[in-house]
Symmetry: C6
Subunit: 69 residues, 6 copies
């Protein structure tokens, strides 16, 4: 997976843009949860989302259905 | 997965055709969601779907059940 | 996965037979959907099923529970 | 996965024994289905189960919760 | 995955201890099933659990949520 | 996956911090379970969570939706 974690890929670059712009997003998970917040960081395995109550959700990418923005 | 992301494979080429033709599709996700729209781009991990309200859904391929067209 | 996509494996060969014989099958997905139709093509990632209304379902193999025939 | 598909592993050998002995088993899938029958063959990706009505279920291993015997 | 199946990893060693001690465990699966019993063996792909009625459940690790002990 | 299990990655380092600080966390699983407790250890495949009743949950990372902290 490391080889595919490069800003050369749109899916990585888009998330980097969302982090830079502190844009509000919704993330739908395979658990059925829909979580709203801002993305703080990403790495090859996880995305960290901070919700309005300032709790951090370290989300495994394997569990993501989609990010809506 | 990179090795398998080539237009030599029908599953990649078909999605490229759907992008080129701006064709309406439905995507059924493992979350149970059925989302309608047009595909903007794909890369080895994700497909980006724009819905009629011009919101973008960056969908992880791991979460796709099927694309109907 | 490429290495395992060869007609030397029964699971690939059986699907090739189903395509050749235009046999009706049912595919049960992890989404809970049960879809009936004929398989048009397969590649290492996907199987394309045409339903009676001539709509195509490009199904990701990762989402398949079973094919019944 | 090929490297791990060898009769040196108990999980492969046990399924080979079930095939040889034509033993009745129950397979629970991530779809929630519980299917009863006899295993006809296995390969690195799939297990084929024949139910009492002589229909074949080509089950993807990724979708198996457990085999009960 | 083979490279990660070594008693140098806590997750493998703990299961080996549970086998050696014939300890009762509960395994929660992605199917929603919660199965109680004793672990007979593990290999890189599966864990075999014997329930009180002496039925064996060959569980695929991919389907395990957690083991409780 | 081994290559990606290094404290150079935020997702690994954050969990190491949670272990060191004995911080209470909630883990949401793909089974739908939400489990609260403290993380005792992690390795490339699993995270071990101790709940208040001192039961250990050896959680497979594949089954994690998110860790909330």
């Amino acid at each position: 997976m490391s080889q595919e974690f490069s800003t050369g890929f749109p899916h990585v670059r888009q998330v980097q843009n969302l982090i830079r712009d502190k844009q509000s997003v919704e993330i739908k998970l395979l658990t059925g949860d829909l979580i709203s917040g801002r993305i703080l960081w990403q790495d090859p395995q996880c995305i960290c989302l901070e919700t309005d109550d300032q709790r951090k959700h370290q989300i495994w990418k394997q569990a993501i259905g989609f990010i809506k923005y």
